[in-house]
């Protein structure tokens, strides 16, 4: 509904009521397009006051409408056109000629939802950002959330980290940083990827306290409210179909810099001459050696002539395993999506039915299938009562393909594949690659009856069947009943049940199975295989059940110039999860049989010359738990004269956060807000400023972390070392003063519009104060509390503050045959730690790449700190730093004694300025848009060379070729010289030094859309009302970056996704 139209309706009704008298019971006419005067077929004409009486225009655009009562007003609508309402008077000439204008951008009357109530944006005091259907559907994707990337102001998607969505920057330090996701009325507990984007009507993002505090203790990180499509209250059955296919390019395996094969072999030869491998050659664990080292050993032992050695090494020098990864490991991805929905309504009943199917084949041959089904029905048995029932069903399956090539290892210590490995021979057969143990050892064991121990990376996934299935059922029931005096009772219940099960079948020929069987194979007293021949099957099952019950009383009073809305409610919410896993040995997938094994005996391991011992991995586990919440809430708003709105909300949350005193389990949170619609004031007579609204809010949101406890808590585990007994780890030290995190938010905003939609938007200013934030405080190791690989303590140790500006602007640059519209999003975000309980004085604990957290008072939560750099030593190419203000090479002392004050602060690690500019063009049936996104103001630490990983993990950065080699090189390079023996602290110092930091600013052309719309109605004869063909290209290009080291700062060290291109069709019947 458009604001303008609504006003128009009111005006006309008013006009009709005052002057108009009509006695006509029949109206005829023709509906035409205002732009090209073509007839509009399929336009709907209804009686404005009796929507059940309606006709549809024929192919000439003609209609004829009759009723038994005099016709006062008709409403003419047609898809793609603005709806028009016409008042009829006896003087009106017939037949009518009705010209409909094509839909263009208008200031819409936007309704925003919080999950508890809907509110017209006009009366909202808080910060709500709405992503409407059109913007949401601009992008083609399987999932929902990624469609907000680059179009929602102040919402940052950081692809470098796992939990990557932040609304208005981080509001916590080590607490949960993910926004709350609400589907319709309730938090969505399942995998967000279960939701079919074709079921989504729109999304509202709640940013400040007034908008989000109704969600209380889970609102600190902002709330994303997803609204699904619902049946409308009018009209006959409508069918909508959408289908598309997305083609994606392989990732660029050459993107991460890597040492050249020739250089790598050079290093191996140097190490060999130094005797580096001697220790490994004789080690009882038979550690794997690379082919070059094996050749060098053969040569040393006289089994290979010098000529042959050089010849063989020269051949290896010409290889690069990345060619094989590119050609044989990856493929182009293909995602298909099909969606269909039906909706319709009668007087008492309306329904919505949808189905969706997605079929994605990834670049690693992983196959993802998802089937969605949804049914929504609203029944109005009596006046004032509405019953809604809804069901979502999602079934998805993933059949995993190959592993990511970068996760391949050749030793359990995390050694990568050597750069001259070959995965395939000229005839297309998979080749074996040295892994885990020396080939001579493997061969020797094979001779003694062991299974072949070769590893064929390219073939391995053919022997492993890794599938997972997910079933998600969501049932939702709601009752709304209107009580007298403007009260309404609302009851909601939601049940969500999610089951996931997976199985990994390691076939009997998989390396995994052969390796495990071999390791346990015993030679004495007789040859035996404690792990039986056959496949190994891992199974896991998980179940997650959530129940929500909510009862709410709504109140609505509209009297004269007073408008009062209020609601009060309470809810219970319980989430119960359980999972278990099991394993079978000697499994025969054909007949589902397995063989019992001895889990008690410690078997000596063949790969350690029968020195180390182990028990057979049992793979049995069971875990479970329950999260519970009880909440009470209130929300109210009062508007006077349509000009001034005051809002208030309060919420009290309780949870079963562990071991906390009852009074601390419950936290009260509230907000207050006010807005002033200046442009509607009598005195405000601006002709050009069509909207001016000021808003101000204040309040508190919370953040809960149920993993913490006020008491000492321990976690039970199975299989202690040595004994195999159960044992416990301490998770939390006692912390009687544990509290929930709170964020105070002040938001001030202005909404404006100039010349009726030509230019407009909103500007928001906010100040956030995080209090009692959960954080890690480092501890003196003497305390003995060791958890999460650190001597540190997690509790309410920090405060922070942040502020920012968000601009969301639009301009209609051209209007007419060619439309050109620009939308611009800009977010400025700043934050700093204001308090942090800290025992450490050593600077090293705060050296940070800015992706992690280095909580230093006065600096951003994500700050880039490094150790000062004094260049390379001109004598020998050693990296140099500072110790007590003097140039030093005492790396251990530098790492341990550098104080916090001596660190180099570069800047924030997360962008401080970011957003997007989207231009949309339309011309006749064509429409196109492109989105440019940008991030500025942050820094990153580039990957660099570590001689330790080069020597031990076969993994070296390409900057090896630029290393210092002779005096004078220090003028051109910062890469330290190679020394032997290596000094790990020298590597560490170099990697943590200031010389690694780069500016992360960049601009990218994110995506482009193009579409062509056939208006079936207008063209006549076509069997649809609307048909749209569209194309969408994503991840197009990095247009500009500040760094000169060939790194796309948006993706950091991981390979940026390849370009994708989608084609699709969308139609309505």
């Amino acid at each position: 509904m458009k604001l303008k139209i609504t006003l128009l309706i009111l005006t006309i009704h008013f006009a009709v009521g005052s002057f108009g008298q009509t006695s006509r019971q029949e109206v005829s006419g023709r509906v035409l397009s205002i732009t090209d005067q073509t007839a509009l077929n399929g336009a709907t004409i209804i009686l404005s006051d009796k929507p059940t009486v309606k006709v549809i225009t024929n192919e000439k655009g003609d209609f004829n409408l009759r009723d038994r009562e005099p016709i006062k007003s008709i409403t003419v609508s047609c898809i793609g056109y603005k709806t028009q309402v016409l008042a009829l008077m006896d003087t009106t000439k017939l037949p009518l000629e009705i010209y409909l204008a094509e839909e263009t951008y208008e200031m819409e009357e936007v309704t925003v939802s919080t999950g508890y109530y809907d509110i017209p944006k006009e009366r909202a005091t808080g910060s709500f950002e709405k992503i409407d259907k059109e913007l949401f559907n601009r992008r083609v994707s399987t999932d929902v959330l990624s469609r907000l990337d680059g179009v929602a102001t102040g919402v940052l998607f950081d692809k470098r980290t796992a939990t990557n969505v932040n609304i208005r920057g981080v509001g916590t330090i080590y607490g949960n940083t993910s926004p709350l996701i609400v589907l319709d009325n309730f938090p969505y507990e399942g995998d967000i990827n279960n939701i079919n984007p074709n079921d989504i009507e729109d999304i509202t993002i709640l940013k400040d306290a007034a908008a989000a505090s109704i969600w209380g203790a889970r609102a600190s990180n902002g709330v994303i409210v997803i609204n699904t499509k619902k049946a409308k209250q009018e009209g006959m059955m409508k069918v909508e179909v959408n289908s598309n296919v997305t083609l994606g390019r392989k990732p660029d395996v050459f993107y991460p810099s890597r040492i050249s094969t020739a250089n790598f072999i050079e290093v191996e030869r140097m190490l060999f001459n130094e005797g580096f491998y001697k220790n490994q050659e004789i080690a009882y664990t038979n550690p794997v050696l690379s082919p070059v080292v094996e050749l060098l050993i053969q040569h040393r032992d006289g089994a290979l002539s010098s000529d042959n050695l050089e010849q063989k090494i020269n051949r290896l020098k010409s290889l690069d395993v990345r060619n094989d990864f590119r050609d044989h490991w990856y493929q182009n991805s293909v995602n298909q999506q099909y969606a269909l929905n039906l909706k319709g309504a009668s007087v008492k009943n309306s329904y919505f039915l949808s189905g969706g199917y997605d079929h994605n084949v990834s670049d690693l041959e992983s196959v993802f299938k998802r089937f969605n089904f949804r049914f929504n029905n609203t029944y109005r048995p009596i006046e004032g009562m509405e019953l809604t029932a809804e069901m979502f069903y999602t079934r998805s399956s993933t059949d995993r393909g190959r592993d990511n090539h970068s996760s391949l290892n050749t030793a359990s210590s995390g050694r990568t594949i050597h750069p001259y490995a070959q995965l395939m021979d000229a005839d297309g057969n998979a080749l074996a690659v040295n892994k885990d143990y020396r080939n001579s050892f493997k061969e020797n064991m094979h001779q003694q009856g062991f299974l072949p121990w070769n590893y064929y990376p390219l073939d391995e996934y053919n022997h492993i069947d890794n599938r997972s299935f997910n079933t998600d059922i969501l049932l939702n029931g709601a009752l709304k009943y209107n009580l007298p005096l403007g009260f309404q009772l609302q009851l909601n219940y939601q049940h969500q049940r999610n089951h996931n099960n997976g199985e990994v079948l390691y076939g009997e020929n998989s390396y995994y199975t052969r390796d495990l069987i071999n390791r346990f194979t015993q030679l004495t007293p007789t040859f035996s295989t404690p792990i039986p021949y056959g496949a190994i099957l891992n199974m896991n099952n998980g179940r997650n059940v959530t129940n929500n019950v909510r009862s709410q009383l709504n109140y609505n009073l509209s009297s004269g110039s007073h408008l009062l809305t209020a609601l009060i409610g309470g809810e219970f919410r319980s989430n119960n999860y359980e999972s278990n896993s099991a394993r079978m040995y000697g499994y025969d997938p054909d007949v589902y049989t397995q063989i019992a094994v001895d889990y008690l005996t410690r078997f000596r391991q063949s790969n350690t010359n029968y020195i180390s011992s182990a028990i057979i991995p049992q793979g049995l586990s069971r875990t479970g738990g329950t999260n519970r919440y009880v909440s009470y809430y209130f929300n109210g708003a009062y508007t006077y004269n349509g000009l001034y709105t005051f809002s208030a909300s309060a919420r009290k949350d309780g949870s079963n956060i562990f071991g906390v005193n009852t009074n601390q389990r419950v936290v009260p949170l509230y907000s207050l807000g006010a807005s002033w619609l200046v442009s509607s004031e009598e005195f405000f007579k601006s002709t050009w400023l069509s909207l001016l609204k000021l808003r101000l809010t204040y309040g508190y949101n919370g953040n809960v972390d149920n993993t913490l406890s006020a008491f000492t808590t321990i976690n039970y585990f199975n299989n202690a070392n040595i004994t195999g007994n159960r044992y416990a780890n301490v998770v939390n030290p006692p912390n009687p003063s544990l509290r929930w995190e709170k964020t105070k938010v002040i938001n001030a905003a202005v909404d404006f519009d100039v010349m009726k939609g030509r230019i407009g938007g909103s500007a928001e200013f906010y100040w956030k104060n995080g209090m009692d934030l959960i954080g890690y405080a480092p501890l003196d190791p003497t305390s003995g509390f060791f958890a999460n690989s650190n001597f540190s303590f997690r509790g309410n140790v920090a405060d922070m503050r942040g502020n920012g500006i968000e601009l969301n602007l639009y301009s209609q640059n051209l209007q007419g045959a060619l439309n050109w519209r620009t939308n611009w999003q800009l977010a400025l975000v700043k934050n700093e730690v204001t308090q942090y309980f800290n025992l450490y004085v050593t600077g090293r604990n705060f050296v940070s790449s800015g992706l992690g957290i280095s909580p230093l008072v006065g600096y951003p939560v994500h700050a880039v700190f490094t150790l000062p750099w004094a260049g390379l030593d001109p004598e020998n190419g050693d990296p140099r730093g500072y110790l007590n203000g003097e140039v030093s090479k005492d790396y251990t002392a530098i790492l341990n004694n550098t104080t916090i004050d001596e660190l180099v602060y570069h800047g924030p690690g997360k962008p401080t300025t970011f957003g997007g500019i989207r231009n949309t063009f339309s011309w006749k049936q064509w429409s196109a848009s492109f989105n440019i996104t940008y991030q500025f103001g942050h820094y990153f630490v580039k990957p660099s060379l570590s001689y330790n990983s080069l020597f031990n993990a076969w993994d070296g950065h390409g900057e090896f070729k630029d290393r210092w080699q002779k005096s004078g090189d220090e003028q051109f390079t910062n890469v330290p010289s190679m020394i032997y023996p290596n000094n790990n602290n020298r590597d560490t110092f170099y990697q943590l030094s200031a010389v690694q930091v780069q500016k992360a600013d960049h601009i990218r052309l994110q995506d482009v859309t193009l579409s062509y719309t056939f208006n079936g109605v207008r063209r006549g004869k076509l069997p649809f009302q609307l048909l749209e063909l569209y194309a969408y290209a994503n991840n197009i290009a990095l247009l500009w970056k500040a760094n000169k080291v060939n790194i796309d700062p948006a993706y950091g060290n991981s390979i940026p996704p390849g370009r994708t291109l989608a084609f699709g069709i969308r139609t309505n019947f």
């Binding site: 005797g275 580096f276 001697k278 004789i282 009882y284 410690r602 000596r604 020195i611 180390s612 011992s613 069971r622 875990t623 738990g625 329950t626 519970r628 949870s655 079963n656 956060i657 562990f658 009852t662 389990r665 149920n706 993993t707 406890s709 008491f711 000492t712 808590t713 321990i714 976690n715 039970y716 202690a720 070392n721 040595i722 004994t723 159960r726 044992y727 416990a728 301490v730 480092p778 003196d780 190791p781 003497t782 305390s783 003995g784 509390f785 060791f786 650190n790 001597f791 303590f793 450490y840 004085v841 050593t842 251990t892 790492l895 341990n896 032997y980 023996p981 000094n983 790990n984 602290n985």
Partner: protein, 439 residues
């Protein structure tokens, strides 16, 4: 609100719990990673059992390299090190002990409570003793009250400030706790990873020996041998095996391992040839403890006394050590016959039966030398050699100057050198402000 509170009383995770039952406390003490695999490794690195070639030395990490040549910079490259790891077991022990205190006077079984408390006190004392051996001067009755000891953390409260006690306070605390533990613990237990009365006596004997209080050491060794005096008969072990000793065998009374390192794994450390030459052909340990590489030269240690239950070298308490403590004390206290008889019983199980006809020695000094030689040969790779240097260097007759050569450079460690006391990790000094050891 009451029903609402009940609703919120459910615990969020099944595997997570507040340690308030006896089984929880036992589970904490059964955390073998922290309790049994957390002993310092530096005593073995700094002693003279193992030799490191330049190549191997060059290819290992900083702390290991530096501990080997008695250099200053150690324990600064890992969070879990010779200082912090034992303190983790102290934390677990304190938690368990406090758990017992909370359960006193409830329906919990007193026997079980005593068992937990005894284990906790033992584990704490074991960690304190190991720390004292690495980070304080050797016990000297004349200076012990002024020599800097270790921080004695007696409560689990992580906010408790860290300060160093004196060496006397440190040893007093260890002994007092062990005596209480010995009263509370059962004679024997199911798993050698748990403490028992026998283990407490063994540790008391060891502690008193290092304090040169031979009467007390002998007393506790006797008390131990009253409970447990069976020695493994090495004649019955198979020297052809890569790992000749079974896991948790009958001598193993408290099973602990030292942190793993680059060059002393349970079965591949290279042994000093002069050490190997001490073993005569009839000494069964010659083939049970060692193997010779294919080069016919390099001697490697394979005699991990814990049966290589983990990739970390065994350094726990075992009956053989108690036998030798008792024999040494007897020799030092002038009970020559007693010492000799113990020594012969011991040798019966270590030498080939047919030629093992018993030693006859005429002087106390000769008996002592023979006991110390057996001690030298028996306790390889168990971290005890370093402690022996620290105590035996006090007497001129047994004092040694250690020497090393790495990459052509010679390192010398004379008796009584400051370097017999390791440096405390810099991080600890920085965060607690306690005084560093002189270097």
């Amino acid at each position: 609100m009451t029903s609402c509170n009940d609703y919120l009383d459910v615990k969020p995770s099944k595997s997570m719990t507040v340690p308030e039952k006896i089984k929880d406390l036992q589970a904490l003490l059964d955390n073998t990673t922290y309790i049994n695999q957390s002993s310092p490794i530096s005593p073995e690195l700094a002693a003279d059992n193992f030799l490191v070639t330049d190549q191997v030395w060059n290819s290992t990490g900083l702390s290991v390299r530096n501990a080997y040549i008695w250099e200053k910079d150690v324990f600064n490259d890992f969070f879990l090190n010779d200082w912090s790891y034992p303190y983790v077991s102290v934390f677990y022990a304190n938690l368990a002990k406090e758990g017992v205190e909370k359960l006193q006077g409830t329906s919990a079984s007193q026997v079980e409570l005593d068992f937990i408390k005894g284990q906790a006190l033992f584990i704490r004392a074991y960690a304190f003793y190991q720390l004292a051996g690495v980070f304080t001067k050797p016990y000297n009755a004349h200076t012990a009250s002024s020599d800097l000891g270790i921080p004695l953390r007696l409560v689990s409260d992580i906010n408790e400030p860290t300060s160093r006690a004196s060496v006397k306070e440190t040893y007093d605390r260890i002994i007092a706790d062990l005596k209480i533990a010995a009263d509370l613990l059962p004679d024997k237990v199911t798993y050698a990873t748990r403490a028992s009365r026998a283990a407490a006596y063994a540790l008391l004997a060891r502690v008193y020996l290092s304090m040169a209080e031979y009467t007390e050491a002998a007393r506790y060794a006797d008390l131990y041998l009253d409970i447990k005096n069976v020695l493994l008969d090495f004649n019955e072990l198979d020297a052809a095996k890569m790992v000749p000793f079974p896991i948790m065998h009958e001598e193993d009374v408290f099973h602990t391992c030292a942190l793993t390192t680059g060059f002393i794994t349970p079965s591949s450390g290279i042994v000093d040839p002069s050490l190997y030459s001490l073993y005569t052909a009839d000494d069964l340990r010659r083939s049970l403890f060692f193997r010779i590489d294919a080069d016919n030269k390099t001697v490697r240690f394979k005699g991990d006394y814990g049966g290589a239950a983990s990739p970390m070298p065994y350094n726990g308490l075992a009956t053989d050590e108690v036998y030798l403590i008792k024999a040494e004390c007897a020799a030092r206290l002038g009970e020559r016959e007693k010492a000799l008889s113990l020594l012969n019983t011991f040798r019966q199980k270590r030498y080939r039966t047919r030629i093992n006809d018993g030693l006859v020695l005429e002087s106390d000094q000769a008996v002592l030398s023979e006991v110390l030689l057996e001690r030298r040969k028996e306790l390889i790779g168990r971290g005890l050699r370093w402690f022996d240097f620290r105590r035996l260097n006090r007497e001129q007759s047994t004092a040694v100057t250690l020497k090393r050569a790495v990459n052509g450079k010679e390192y010398v460690l004379p008796p009584g050198d400051n370097r017999y006391v390791f440096q405390i990790p810099l991080e600890v000094i920085a965060s607690s402000g306690i005084p560093q050891n002189p270097y």
